[in-house]
Symmetry: C2
Subunit: 329 residues, 2 copies
């Protein structure tokens, strides 16, 4: 039997606290060789359409193989096809038998586990007294970061910046209503960045990068937007004296934010402190002083989908949610 889970069921079965613990588990597992995670496959479609990515992960201790198909960038979808511009499905296989045990809508999981990634890094790397957040970017993922970081620290105020003034005011209205946290709209990106205890960059990676001298000592940077070549959110100079922590060494040096300072020879591979899994496992120190700048470069990994979707599946089984379907007798 295969369990089918709709989007609203997925939403009901998981909360951000659980996603954060799933992502922590994923990072620990990834850095202890408990994971097989082949390079993902992307099919890029002609313009006006986006791409469909297929991301596979095998989490050995749980014996679960996940496959996430995720489409994005189909800008004409709502008008032309009456469907969202981004959709997804996640398949879970029992690795003991190869059986397909679950198919769930995957449109929420990517956003949730990426939000949780930022929160995990805040827990491990931000100053304990960090209270002021700066958000560069005001879209879905920028909001998800707030939703997740809220679970970890008490946020006093959020400084926000976006190139689009309407987006900024909508962000302010939405965040103040949902979280009751005051949002301060600054006149420049620089002004917003200068306030940050925790700096989130969650843009499309096409704007002017955050300058190194805007960032005050002790800031923790959550670099979310850059997950492929051609995107950039941070001045490579920022990496020169920062403590650099990545989700995956191979991905971040290949196509994450960390690629830029490597490419510009501002740093070498040896200057990367390590993977966040190493910090969580206690193999490498996290933040060591209130003055250091820490950068967490998140490119996103299949194993985050795996552990998050597994938690959703387990919760569905425990609560009798979903539709069982028998593909064969």
């Amino acid at each position: 039997m295969t369990l089918l889970l709709k989007k609203d069921e997925v939403a009901q079965l998981i909360n951000m606290k659980n996603v954060i613990s799933a992502v922590e588990e994923a990072y620990r597992a990834f850095s202890s060789d408990k994971v097989e995670q082949p390079a993902y496959i992307g099919i890029h479609l002609p313009s006006q359409r986006g791409e469909i990515d297929f991301k596979l992960g095998y989490y050995k201790p749980a014996e679960i193989i996940s496959m996430k198909a995720h489409s994005g960038g189909f800008t004409n979808n709502p008008a032309d096809h009456g469907v969202p511009n981004s959709m997804g499905a996640i398949l879970l296989f029992d690795a003991r038998s190869g059986a397909l045990i679950c198919i769930m809508d995957g449109s929420l999981v990517t956003g949730l586990r990426t939000g949780a990634a930022g929160a995990v890094s805040v827990k491990a790397l931000a100053r304990k007294n960090a209270r002021k957040i700066t958000s560069i970017g005001t879209g879905n993922q920028a909001r998800m970061q707030i939703r997740a970081i809220c679970e970890i620290v008490e946020i006093d105020e959020i400084y926000a910046w976006s190139r689009t003034p309407e987006m900024l005011s909508k962000y302010k209205m939405d965040i103040e209503r949902e979280f009751g946290i005051p949002v301060i709209i600054t006149r420049s990106k620089q002004e917003a960045v200068q306030q940050a205890d925790i700096l989130i960059t969650a843009t499309s990676g096409k704007g002017e990068p955050v300058k190194a001298d805007w960032v005050k000592p002790g800031t923790h940077i959550v670099a979310i937007g850059t997950d492929q070549r051609g995107k950039q959110e941070l001045d490579p100079e920022l990496f020169r004296n920062a403590k650099i922590i990545v989700d995956s060494l191979s991905q971040c040096t290949e196509k994450g934010e960390t690629w830029h300072p490597l490419d510009k020879k501002v740093i070498t591979q040896a200057d990367i402190h390590g993977e966040i899994g190493d910090v969580l496992l206690g193999r490498k120190p996290g933040r060591e002083s209130d003055d250091e700048i820490t950068i967490f470069d998140s490119t996103g990994m299949a194993i985050q989908d795996n552990t998050t979707a597994s938690k959703i599946y387990q919760s569905a089984i425990a609560n009798g949610v979903g539709t069982s379907f028998r593909f064969f007798e």
Copy 2:
């Protein structure tokens, strides 16, 4: 809405004639740049278990992206988990929107489209008066080859050989009952091969290879079993003076039967006549005399799954078969 199709519905929605035409379409499309087919991803599990492969294909003219997850080699499945040792699922996406339009049981499609591959090659490459088939191997795929080739030529008799005598007598009984074609069990593999107008090799690729001097002039060879390194069914010497046709140049030279004579320097890449798609498109000649030995090396391609599954999906829509499921509102 996503259409769900069970195994028995899939069986009812497709016949071998349609699979043969789907595979012909796949080969033509593949050899005319109408296909995107990334290298597949396999997750290999510890012993007593097999592997799960994920094969992706994008058929541009139809705007369909397919993803087949296929498990095999889980020998303890029936006893330990009450499920078959091989299972599968195929997902179809509308490439215009990225929407997941269909999820079907995939356990039948691989066998059917591989059977059809042999039949397509027989149509294009065997002598018109070919009537005697030799089958090296008596398993599921060896039977599927007969089922498919039946649609193309009138078979007078089948010479069969297997290392396991019980398999041989079961094969004889089953084939004679199902197709009414006499099956002759020979005393040796050589004796079986010497009879062939059409020689099918559909074994696990671990037995003694078919010797070059056993094969009479004019034979068409359907080489099915070798789809990865470590498998072999034919003496590399057989390739020296044969017309070599492959399903995919890149796959066959990398891990098909054709890899062996290349590795042994019996042939060079230039000695490969071409892809079967080129023959079907009329860009390259097929058989040019009644004396030549033709070899078709089939490694199997995602695009065969794509066009076959698309036909099943279209037939389901036309006949109102299947279960519609709404993963999101």
